[in-house]
Amino acid sequence: EAGVAQSPRYKIIEKRQSVAFWCNPISGHATLYWYQQILGQGPKLLIQFQNNGVVDDSQLPKDRFSAERLKGVDSTLKIQPAKLEDSAVYLCASSLSGSPFEQYFGPGTRLTVT
């Protein structure tokens, strides 16, 4: 079974630029999550999708972050404009609908904002 795929793996941008991350969840997983992990901290949920609908985006900085999950499969997370404090690893995870306890994580995208 293929795992959660993410790209790119690494990205370096200057502040005020924009960036986008892509995630392909495990086939058949209806729930998709984006997490932000700042160095020295645990992952923090940014947004959760159930199919292509948003379940929780309470911690998403909506003035600069946006995410979509068209067709209920792949998802993209965008930051525009980026700030220095956005430097982090962005993790995508997925889980089966009705079985939310175990989330499967992708390798993450390490973003550095200079």
Binding site: Q41, G42, P43, L45, F101, Q103, F105
Partner: protein, 113 residues
């Protein structure tokens, strides 16, 4: 407001000995707890979980203990192996309501020969 705390940022254990990783939580609404293991440049991998209706769950070398009255859980690894060297995250959630996992800050375990 750190609802899940892992107060030991690092732990060093000799191969073959027991590793004990600790986690405390403050939200009494949490009733499901998970441990994730993370290697460098990889995403976290689910390791073991426990529901609040239990006080112990075992899976091979890994055992998680839950003390609800103290709002404390621990992960025991026996015997520890060099391949166990990783960062371990404790996470908590409510089984009803919001599906959000709240993670601790992690403990880096190093198992040396």
């Amino acid at each position: 407001d750190q609802q899940v705390k892992q107060n030991s940022p690092s732990l060093s254990v000799q191969e073959g000995r027991i590793s004990i990783l600790n986690c405390d939580y403050t939200n009494s609404m949490f009733d499901y707890f998970l441990w994730y293991k993370k290697y460098p440049a990889e995403g976290p991998t689910f390791l073991i979980s426990i529901s609040s209706i239990k006080d112990k769950n075992e899976d091979g070398r890994f055992t998680v203990f839950l003390n609800k009255s103290a709002k404390h859980l621990s992960l025991h690894i026996v015997p520890s192996q060099p391949g166990d060297s990783a960062v371990y995250f404790c996470a908590a959630k409510r089984s009803r309501g919001p599906d959000k996992l709240i993670f601790g800050t992690g403990t880096r375990l190093q198992v040396f020969p």
